[in-house]
């Protein structure tokens, strides 16, 4: 049997979102034993390894799979979360998800030519976020009109957009660059389309503006400033000043609601943008926020007409797998053998439900040669 990699054990535990003590309790071993497995001082017995694999949802092959060297090269990780709610463990869990997904895409990229990452260089214009957002639009050959197909746009520029459940963690979205490939992970639990679009644009901001940072942006000293920049960038990217300004004829809530479908952003985001551009005064902004609170629009999912806002769609993973199966490069049930990670990871990476990877659910068709 190939050797078990200690780093994979730590990865599996972190992906599961549990402590060493939790894992030890679940497997009936001492926390010291788990620590030794993770440090490489000792290897788990085959029984413990099997129990570990069952518990964390990894196949045994995954524990023996060497890390591709470049997957460890992780760019800055940003977490878009409710303030103070992103715990370190939830961050680690998301980081491991990102690494496993990136590794899955590493496998995919050996078989399918994916869109080449095309992120504009935004670091220099970090102090002029408005200009950075405009430059990003220009470098992608966009004018100042609304962007409704945001997911398609990001993916066509080589930024992989994925939907993931962050469980109980209060994370809305996060982004990172792994091996030079940018990823945006959006929460799948959220039904609020307008907010999800803003989350995606906010993460794009981190990828463009803060690409020279490393580690967790949330642990950076200027985290609040980085978040402010990302919000301003998202706002300017989704609602370019000149055309948006011309659209705001009626600065009542109803007036903004009429623009929701056209711009695909929440009324709240439009009010903030209108204030930022000097279209409405401080007192008008305060009054509109008071009205929104009173109507319950500021609660998640509370703002009306979200159904008119297009979803952030992602298709690269699913279409790539379809391409491989349609050309008989691989069958769906073979994918988990090639990429031996938990079903959740494959589902996030490729947008395919776990049961479709199950050989027993595949059509039972055998091609027979024609005998002349």
């Amino acid at each position: 049997m190939s050797a078990v990699l200690p780093e994979r054990i730590a990865q599996a535990r972190e992906f599961k979102g549990i402590t060493k003590t939790d894992l030890a309790q679940a497997l009936g071993v001492s926390p010291a034993a788990v620590a030794q497995w993770e440090s490489g001082a000792k290897s788990p017995t085959s029984e413990n390894l099997a129990a570990l694999a069952r518990y964390v949802g990894f196949s045994i092959a995954a524990f023996q799979r060497p890390f591709p060297a470049d997957v460890l090269r992780l760019g800055p990780l940003s977490f878009r979360a409710t303030i103070n709610a992103a715990t370190k463990r939830a961050n680690l869990q998301s980081e491991q998800l990102a690494k496993l997904v990136a590794e899955s895409y590493g496998w995919l990229a050996e078989r399918v030519a994916l869109p080449i990452p095309n992120l504009p260089e935004g670091g220099q214009v970090q102090n002029d976020v408005e200009q950075a957002a405009q430059s990003c639009r220009r470098s992608w050959n966009l004018g100042d009109r609304p962007i409704l197909k945001l997911g398609e746009l990001l993916e066509s520029q080589g930024i992989l957009v994925l939907r993931a459940s962050f469980g109980g963690a209060n994370i809305d979205a996060f982004s990172c660059r792994i091996s030079g490939r940018p990823f945006i992970f959006l929460g799948s639990d959220k039904k609020d389309r307008a907010r999800s679009r803003f989350d995606a644009a906010h993460e794009l901001a981190h990828l463009v503006l803060h690409q020279h940072y490393s580690g967790y942006l949330s642990e950076s000293d200027d985290h609040k400033e980085l978040e402010r920049q990302a919000n301003s960038f998202a706002s300017a990217f989704l609602m370019p000043a000149e055309i948006f300004r011309n659209d705001v004829i009626d600065s009542t809530l109803n007036g903004f609601l009429r623009l929701k479908e056209r711009w695909g952003v929440s009324v709240q985001a439009m009010v903030v943008r209108a204030h930022q551009l000097g279209i409405i005064s401080d007192s008008r902004r305060t009054e509109l926020f008071r009205q929104m609170s009173w109507k319950g629009w500021r609660k998640p999912g509370g703002e009306p007409l979200d159904e008119l806002v297009p979803e952030v769609r992602s298709s690269v993973g699913k279409r790539s797998i379809d391409l491989l199966t349609q050309n008989r490069i691989i069958q769906l049930w073979e994918v988990p053998n090639e990429v031996p990670f938990p079903d959740d990871v494959l589902n996030v990476a490729f947008g395919i439900d776990a049961d479709q990877f199950d050989a027993t659910t595949q059509p039972n068709i055998v091609l027979l040669p024609i005998v002349g």
């Binding site: 399918v112 609304p146 746009l153 993916e155 009306p304 690269v316 790539s320």
Partner: protein, 223 residues
């Protein structure tokens, strides 16, 4: 009852193709959302034989809600929405949402089948009485100068499971509830209405097989 082409033109002023598109969108959204709300898989309390009763009420709420929103969002140009109380102990509800244009007044009602007769109500009876005397329906040439008094009252009948049909009808007989003039039919026909958009054009991200892989999997010519 004859309807002159002048009259049709007058109706079309309120119910332009764009406004009818707005009605179509509102109805589709109302049906989709009410079906989603009453989905027994999402909400087990709807998994009882009484579901259709509640689902009908939810659809009724949803249709009026989205027609009201359609007015608010400017999808129905020149039309205003107003809630009219039909009675009740406290004179607060039930209410009809009445859509009023320059020449027409419309309330929405669901029918199981296109040929069903709308249930009677005091409001609908009153509108039939008004229609019977309405100079617009009787013929444009007799039209009263006072258009406000001569509003033609129409029902927006809609129905089937997924809003497969919707028509504007003017019921005009006090005694015979089945008699109506079809004013505008087939509102749900054609493509799903979407507002014209001036959004940026974005193409699908491209993915392609890496060439040598696809070649490896082609059957060889001499085999």
């Amino acid at each position: 009852m004859p309807i002159s082409s002048d009259f049709q033109a007058l109706v079309a002023k309120d119910w332009s193709p764009e406004n009818l598109m707005g009605v179509q969108r509102a109805l589709r959204m109302a049906y989709e959302n009410s079906l989603s709300i009453c989905d027994a898989e999402k909400q087990p309390i709807f998994g009882t034989p009484n579901r259709p009763l509640v689902a009908g009420s939810v659809r009724w709420l949803a249709v009026d809600y989205y027609l009201n929103e359609a007015c608010r969002l400017g999808w129905l140009k020149g039309i205003t929405a107003k809630w009219v109380v039909l009675g009740g102990k406290k004179n607060e509800f039930p209410c009809h949402l009445v859509l009023t244009g320059a020449n027409t007044s419309v309330i929405a009602i669901h029918l199981q089948q296109e040929e069903d007769i709308p249930r009677d109500s005091k409001y609908r009876r009153n509108t039939r009485v008004a229609n019977e005397a309405c100079p617009l329906l009787a013929g444009f040439e007799h039209m009263d100068e006072n258009v406000e008094d001569a509003l033609i009252n129409m029902l927006l009948v809609h129905g089937d499971k997924n809003a497969e049909f919707a028509e504007l009808r003017a019921y005009y007989s006090v005694e015979n509830r089945s008699q109506y003039e079809l004013i505008i039919g087939n509102i749900m026909g054609g493509a799903v209405a979407a507002p014209p958009s001036d959004a940026e054009t974005v193409s699908e991200p491209s993915v392609a097989l890496i060439l040598n892989l696809s070649e490896q999997n082609q059957p060889s010519a001499g085999a």
